[in-house]
């Protein structure tokens, strides 16, 4: 991200474009949208055909006989079959192949458009061309989907073909198929400019007009879809607009969208020798994100850069919404979080809260999906019919450890942030997690405690613990124990916590013994019913250390009674290693003080 501040180019062309021989009098260039391959055909193929795909590093090169001008050239899937079109009514396969007619539909078609991602073909029908008939191909069958009509800005009289394929694009946005219609400015209607109208084309059911993207300008436009954003290039201003159909204007129920950001040009791409290039008239735009400059011999993928967006979208809530829907968002989001904590403007906390809540929401949704996947797998393992898909963890899932590592731990260590603000931010994050019922990890609590202790705010810490804001855990209880020397009440807080955990009885005994509260420890063990299993030696050791003879007597007598009850004799077994204590007892109180075996 070593870009200078103020670089607002939020769109860029990919760094490693596909390069091919530029179009010229002797070199024809073709693009196949299905395989995203560029064909450079020199002299009708006689001096060579070079095919380059977006991913494959090795280009395919071959020759074929020049049998006239090539109108179109394509490979089949996995480059198995080559098809060449030289006349408007014939397609030639260099290998001998036969075709079989599977199904035929009789429709008057003005033009067609094919979407390779979804295997859907759109046919333009009727005189005006604005009734579109989609077909879906699946497993070798072709099924007719319900047709729909594109609303034209004005109905021409007499009727003539009014919908051009140039104004239609098909793309998948947020997993749904949309037909995008570039509706040009109409002189008659009182609209201020062109707009892009989105028709949602579901697998089943009727197609519906769902979104309107306002351009508020006129001229030549081209459409791309990048990272689920609709990008509209405007040639005359050499800028591009981006729209996010999930970003709703709260005041509007009509799904009318304005550009997310002010229009900006694509980051200029430096081409060696010829200089920079952008919005050239020789550019061709293909779905979803391809821009080809045939005259210069480049194929680029369009990309969204998120860092400039941070400066352009002032509203942090909107910014988070926007970023959370982008693919490579994690580090940008984390840097936004860090940034907003550094600035520390007045009235910043409500913003911090909003941002945290948005992160928590996405995080919670993922946790829930994961949870229901786990339960589904566990319960329905036998039923093979239902295939459970493990939820995908996108970059937008930012968990507590991400926040801790990249944002909070560095933030709390900054010298220039006031402790009041640090604590407020940490509490706000804990509140947000709680609000979404996400279990807070103890290292966040430790961060809170560390900060409070650093500033001697023990009373605040005490109150947080009193209201169980810092949830109980063994690590936390141990941390509290370690604070006892600087803050004595931490001892009580720690014991309370261990007690509530109910799995930490051994720890409680150790704590009490370390405080020489031998009797207390013994009473506690008895109250939880563990007094038959404890080590007599451990308690006798502790009792002897107190140098309180009566206490030693009491503890010794307790274990004699336990021996009597468990084994029918008050004496200790060699395995208990209490000989030393028996001798000490005799020395203090005399042999006759030892308990006599009771025979029942």
């Amino acid at each position: 991200l070593g870009e200078s501040f103020g670089d607002n180019h939020y769109l860029e062309l990919c760094e490693s474009p596909v390069q091919f021989e530029n179009a010229s009098a002797v070199n024809n260039v073709f693009f196949d949208e299905a395989n995203k391959q560029v064909f450079a055909v020199r002299s009708g193929g006689a001096t060579g055909v070079v095919v380059k795909g977006p991913d494959d590093k090795n280009s395919i090169a071959f020759r074929m006989d020049d049998k006239g001008e090539v109108k179109c050239i394509k490979f089949s899937f996995e480059n198995k079959i080559l098809a060449v079109q030289r006349t408007s009514k014939s397609v030639v396969f260099p290998d001998k192949r036969s075709l079989k007619l599977l199904k035929s539909q009789s429709i008057n078609v003005n033009w067609y458009m094919y979407c390779p991602e979804t295997s859907v073909i759109l046919l333009s029908t009727t005189v005006q061309g604005n009734v579109l008939q989609p077909f879906a191909f699946k497993n070798g069958t072709m099924s007719k989907m319900s047709k729909f009509e594109i609303e034209l800005p004005a109905v021409p009289k007499p009727a003539k073909l009014s919908l051009s394929e140039r104004d239609i694009a098909v793309a998948t946005i947020y997993g749904q198929l949309y037909v995008m219609y570039l509706k040009h400015h109409s002189r008659t209607a009182n609209s201020p400019g062109a707009e892009v109208v989105l028709y949602h084309l579901p697998r089943e059911g009727p197609c519906k007009k769902t979104h309107t993207l306002k351009l508020n300008t006129t001229g030549k436009f081209a459409l791309n879809v990048v990272d689920n954003l609709v990008v509209v290039h405007h040639q005359s201003s050499q800028t591009s607009f981006i729209f996010d159909i999930k970003m709703k204007d709260p005041d509007s129920t009509l799904n009318i969208h304005l550009p997310v950001l002010p229009p900006w040009s694509i980051h200029p791409y430096k081409i060696p020798l010829t200089g920079t290039s952008c919005y050239s008239s020789t550019w061709s735009v293909f779905q979803p994100d391809i821009i080809i400059s045939a005259s210069e011999g480049y194929l680029w993928h369009l990309q969204v850069k998120l860092q400039p967006v941070v400066n352009l979208l002032q509203d942090k809530g909107k910014l988070m919404d926007f970023l959370l829907r982008r693919r490579d968002c994690k580090m940008v989001i984390l840097s936004v979080c860090s940034q907003m904590l550094i600035k520390g403007d007045k009235g910043n906390l409500p913003v911090v809260a909003t941002v945290f809540d948005k992160l928590s929401q996405v995080y919670k949704e993922y946790l829930e999906a994961e949870q229901s996947y786990t339960t589904a797998v566990e319960s329905g393992a036998s039923r093979a019919s239902t295939v459970h898909k493990r939820p995908v963890r996108t970059q937008a899932v930012i968990d507590q450890s991400d926040m801790y590592t990249h944002v909070l731990s560095t933030f709390t260590e900054r010298k220039d942030s006031s402790h009041k603000f640090v604590i407020a931010v940490l509490m706000e994050y804990i509140r947000s997690l709680n609000q979404f019922q996400i279990t807070v990890q103890h290292y966040l609590y430790e961060l809170v405690i560390k900060t409070l202790v650093q500033h001697n705010l023990f009373y605040m810490l005490h109150q947080f613990l009193q209201y169980h804001v810092l949830s109980d855990s063994k690590p936390l209880a141990c941390l509290l124990l370690s604070l006892e020397s600087t803050y004595p009440p931490a001892h009580q807080l720690s014991l309370d916590m261990l007690k509530r955990l109910s799995t930490a009885n051994d720890e409680i005994v150790e704590v009490l013994l370390s405080k020489q509260q031998v009797l207390g420890a013994l009473r506690f063990v008895r109250s939880v019913g563990g007094h038959d299993n404890i080590s007599a030696r451990k308690f006798l050791d502790a009792a002897r250390q107190t140098k309180d003879q009566m206490l030693f007597y009491t503890i010794f007598r307790f274990f004699e009674q336990r021996n009597q009850r468990l084994r029918g004799s008050p004496s200790f077994t060699p395995g208990e290693h209490c000989e030393e204590h028996v001798a000490f007892f005799k020395q203090l109180f005399g042999e006759q003080a030892l308990m006599k075996p009771v025979t029942v």
């Binding site: 407020a424 706000e428 509140r431 009193q466 209201y467 169980h468 804001v469 009797l519 009473r523 009674q561």
Partner: protein
């Protein structure tokens, strides 16, 4: 059963001294290692006597403050006296009384230089001494309660002073509270001396104690005065975090605010003020400020949320200190000033108390800041709506929690709990405190037993348990575990020691299961 009991009787020094009480102290040891449990049987003569008598509660006879260094020479004794109540007492008598106290303190100091005398018991009254700052002595003289026996044959009524009724620890604590309250609003005596010598100090003492002493209700002082605890409002984690969020936001927007405390139903939820300062501020709020403002509050509570005044007031927020009505063009923007401890001595603060429904927030701002209309309007506009919303949230959440726990979990036990660590107190014995008196639901004699048990606890460091059999089927149990004390009053016909012990165990298991409380 393998448990065996050893019961032996032992004279118990403390109670034996009290003469009129029949005391049997029973040490009972279970399995040899149960910590000391004392059992006492008490028969109070008062409980047993008939109705033909008139009771007089303890009352304040005099209250004075002196410094022996201020008039060391003969003839200048009056200079020692900084404050004397009642003021109409004749000068020589004042001097005599101060002189006596001085002599007692000096004399007893020879026996124990580190711990000077704290009280003097006489037949008619009891005097309490307290030296809060070097050479400054506060003395409170309380008249012992009296019984006036009506006489059938027309002879003058006989008055009998009950010399042993007052508890030193209770009234000693009341005296210390007097000083703490003075210090909260005026700073130390030393501060006044620095600022304006004896003249200023006597002026301040006069101004403060003239009013404060009228609010002392010596007849209803009890164990709770000794603890000086804070009642915390029970709240779920989420609502608590919302309050945190609210406080942090307000402190961020109004950066003048140094400390904030949040209370609901007169119970504390949050304080960024340190514990010792909070303790006395809490006392002031709950016994003085809130009761004075409770009337309009009660009137508005049942009405649904609605704009109070036509205009922009869409909330219930109002100032309890400072301006009573922001709309009033002549409104005064003066707030009481308080003194709290800080790293470098003390700091002086404006005390803004703002309330919406049952939620009250105190904002404290350095006294060097000028607070005017603009600030108050800003605070009102920011805090009022949020606090109103929060108050109704808390109320709703509280009702939900109460419904979940159910009425059967409401304690049928009468108990007082206190934790020295966080000053948390809880009492099911005391009714809602009013401005004048704190009402208790048990007989004063039982309250006195609680005080006696506490005095016993103070003398030993170890955990202890004392069970007292009082008259009329009452049992009083005191438990001390680490820094916590619990006092339970049980009334069960023909209950024996084991049953009482079991009952208290059950109480601990239901009421105190989330803390480490040895049983």
């Amino acid at each position: 059963m393998d448990e065996c009991f050893f019961i032996f009787v032992e004279a118990h020094l403390f109670f034996a001294l009290q003469g009129t009480w029949h005391v049997i102290t029973v040490y009972y040891r279970e399995e040899h290692f149960h910590s000391k449990i004392s059992l006492m049987l008490m028969i109070s003569p008062r409980m047993a006597t008939g109705m033909q008598e008139k009771q007089y509660s303890p009352s304040l006879l005099s209250f004075f403050i002196y410094n022996p260094k201020f008039g060391p020479r003969e003839g200048e004794e009056e200079k020692k006296i900084l404050f004397y109540h009642p003021s109409e007492v004749e000068k020589n008598e004042k001097i005599r009384n101060v002189g006596l106290c001085e002599a007692i303190v000096q004399f007893t100091r020879t026996f124990c230089p580190s711990k000077p005398a704290k009280s003097l018991h006489t037949q008619k009254n009891r005097q309490f001494f307290f030296e809060p700052e070097e050479n400054f002595w506060i003395v409170m003289v309380v008249r012992n309660p009296m019984v006036e026996k009506a006489n059938k044959e027309g002879r003058p009524a006989a008055t009998e002073y009950q010399e042993e009724e007052l508890l030193d620890n209770v009234y000693g604590a009341v005296l210390q509270q007097c000083y703490s309250m003075y210090k909260l609003f005026n700073g130390t005596f030393g501060r006044a001396m620095e600022a304006g010598a004896v003249e200023l100090l006597t002026q301040k003492l006069e101004k403060f104690f003239y009013r404060y002493l009228q609010t002392l209700h010596l007849q209803s002082c009890d164990l709770l005065d000794v603890f000086g605890g804070i009642s915390f409002f029970p709240l779920d984690k989420m609502t608590y975090l919302k309050i945190q969020s609210f406080v942090n936001r307000v402190e961020e927007s109004l950066s003048l605010i140094k400390y904030t405390t949040f209370l609901y139903n007169d119970q504390l939820i949050w304080s960024s003020l340190e514990q010792d300062d909070m303790r006395i501020l809490y006392k002031y709020l709950t016994t003085s400020l809130f009761p004075r403002h409770s009337e309009p509050e009660l009137a508005g509570r049942d009405s649904p949320l609605r704009p109070e005044v036509a205009g922009n007031l869409l909330h219930y927020g109002r100032f309890l200190t400072g301006p009573t009505n922001l709309k009033d063009p002549d409104a005064k923007f003066r707030f009481p000033r308080i003194f709290v401890n800080s790293s470098d001595g003390y700091e002086e603060l404006h005390l803004i108390v703002y309330k919406a429904m049952s939620a009250a927030v105190c904002f404290m701002i350095s006294a060097s800041e000028e607070l005017g209309r603009e600030f108050c309007e800003q605070l009102d506009g920011l805090v009022g709506p949020q606090l109103t919303l929060l108050a109704s949230d808390i109320c709703e959440q509280y009702n939900i929690n109460r419904r979940i726990s159910g009425p059967e979990k409401e304690p049928q036990f009468k108990f007082i709990y206190f934790n020295h660590m966080n000053l948390a107190e809880k009492s099911t014995i005391h009714m809602r405190k009013t401005a004048s008196v704190s009402l208790t639901s048990v007989h004063p004699d039982l309250m006195k037993i609680l005080g006696d048990i506490h005095a016993d606890f103070v003398r030993v460091d170890e955990d202890e348990e004392i069970i007292v059999k009082a008259m009329t089927d009452y049992w009083v149990v005191g438990k001390k575990s680490d820094q916590r004390e619990l006092y339970v009053i049980l009334n069960q016909k023909n209950a024996n020691l084991i049953e009482v012990n079991e009952e208290v165990k059950r109480l601990c298991a239901t009421q105190f299961n989330n803390i480490f409380f040895l049983d």
